[in-house]
């Protein structure tokens, strides 16, 4: 269970094979995986490894939100 980071994905990502692939390839700590062509999900056990590098935000602009749970009240 991730304690520090949550990653929210825009449902519009599903079906966009290029963006899904870009996300999987962009993350250096394997937070994204593609269970099928045109789909992307987050890997729960890797979420806390997020280095806040923003590569996912650049790979899929506006479609990914990284939430720092420790900054939330």
């Amino acid at each position: 269970m991730a304690m520090f980071i949550r990653v929210d994905l825009d449902p519009a990502l599903q079906g966009d094979a290029a963006l899904c692939k870009a996300l999987v390839e962009a993350c250096p700590v394997d937070i994204f995986k593609s269970p099928a062509e045109g789909q992307v999900v987050t890997v729960e056990e890797n979420l806390d490894e997020c280095t806040l590098c923003d590569l996912c935000l650049q790979a899929a602009p506006g479609k990914v939100t990284v939430v720092k749970l420790y900054r939330e009240p």
């Binding site: 304690m3 520090f4 806390d48 490894e49 280095t51 806040l52 720092k68 420790y70 900054r71």
Partner: protein
């Protein structure tokens, strides 16, 4: 890399230091043959890397070859501090009329090598230093300039030795020092050097430690001793705790979170940063703390690696709290380590606010790191608090518990 006594003596012999006749043996029969070859009373000595051999029954005197064989048979199966000997050294027994001590090592405070010499050998040199300081000399020298016999002579004469003894001892101390420098030793020690009834002066027992990283430069010597490069020697076998830490470190290539050594204290340490781990370990002890372990963390370990190391340490029954401390770090993310140690505590069933005595890692991404610590109520300090002061605070918080 620590050498066994029989190996150290072979190294000393190459340096021209006089030694008693001796044979390394791995069976009782070999010990009998060695005693026959020596042709007189012998001493049979366990070859283990730990100290305290005499008290443990690992050193015995024999007047006959049969007695030597019997002692060897006993010693070969006698563990000393949980270590079985790799063999025995059967050595000519000597009639000693005076014992001396000589060692060459590095003085960390002076940042120079030092020759330590005493005319009270055969006993703990720390005891001599405390109770008979006038019988001990400390002579610093340069590791960069060529070594001169004059320095060795000064070390010996500083405890009042003159005449033939001064000449003979100078030769031994000079040889030991050149060996120390030429072979990248961290310690070269002879204790005791014995003056025999016939006036000869020889090395009776010795101890040599080579810098681990220098082994590849001395393959000629190691091959002569029948050793291969990169051999690791430890004074005791690794504990389960240490092996599990090594497994955690090896399982994930990201950064370092391991190299753990177990101690019997109650304050777990997760420490590091360019020598910071050694400084912090010493600082904790200087503040009256009792470390449960030494370990190293750095080079940006993953959250899971830091968490697994933390879980391992906090799960030890003797560990009451942990201190997570580093020097200012640029190559290790503060927030990643903070996540790891907080997560490790929680996964082990502890409240990080109670289990972590202090977190002191200033450096990259410290703002995010401190936010995590505040969220979980973990006490922390920033770079305005020195490592010494942080260690003191950690020990104080530990004592409050």
């Amino acid at each position: 890399m620590r050498f066994y006594e029989y190996e150290s003596k072979r190294i000393l012999a190459k340096a021209g230091i006089p030694l008693p006749k001796s044979h390394f043996c791995t069976t009782a029969e070999q010990a009998r043959e060695a005693a026959v070859a020596i042709g007189g009373p012998v001493v049979v000595k366990s070859q283990v890397l730990s100290g305290g051999r005499m008290k443990a029954g690992g050193v015995k005197f024999a007047d006959t070859p049969d007695e030597a064989a019997k002692h060897a048979a006993d010693i070969l199966v006698l563990p000393i501090k949980d270590l079985l000997p790799v063999g025995v050294l059967v050595e000519e027994k000597q009639q000693v009329v005076q014992e001396y001590y000589a060692a060459v090592t590095y003085d960390g405070r002076a940042k120079r090598p030092v020759i330590i010499f005493s005319d009270m050998g055969g006993i703990d040199i720390e005891e001599v230093a405390e109770q008979h300081p006038e019988h001990l000399s400390r002579t610093h020298f340069s590791a960069l300039r060529p070594f001169s016999d004059y320095i060795a002579k000064t070390a010996v004469s500083n405890v009042g030795i003159t005449g033939n003894d001064l000449t003979a001892l100078t030769r031994i101390v000079s040889g030991l020092t050149r060996l120390f420098l030429d072979r990248d030793m961290t310690l070269a020690e002879i204790n005791p050097i014995g003056k025999l009834a016939d006036g000869r002066i020889i090395a009776l027992d010795c101890h040599a430690d080579m810098e681990q990283e220098a082994q590849r430069q001395h393959l000629d010597l190691l091959k002569d001793l029948g050793l291969v490069g990169d051999e690791k020697r430890q004074a005791r076998p690794p504990t389960d705790f240490e092996m599990e830490a090594e497994r955690i470190d090896g399982a994930d290539p990201r950064g370092v979170a391991g190299n753990l050594t177990e101690f019997d204290g109650d304050l777990g340490l997760i420490i590091g940063a360019g020598g910071g781990s050694l400084t912090l370990f010493d600082a904790v002890r200087a503040a009256g703390g009792k470390p449960a372990n030494y370990c190293e963390i750095g080079g940006n370990p993953s959250v899971s690696k830091a968490a697994n190391l933390t879980k391992l340490i906090v799960s030890r029954p003797n560990v009451k709290k942990i201190a997570v401390m580093m020097n200012v770090v640029s190559n290790t993310r503060v927030d990643i380590v903070a996540r790891g140690v907080v997560k490790g505590c929680i996964e082990a069933g502890f409240n990080p606010a109670e289990k972590i005595a202090l977190f002191r890692i200033p450096g990259s991404w410290e703002g995010e790191g401190f936010a995590i610590l505040e969220k979980y109520g973990v006490p922390y300090v920033d770079r305005t608090v020195s490592m010494d002061e942080a260690a003191r605070i950690a020990v104080e918080n530990m004592k409050k518990a």
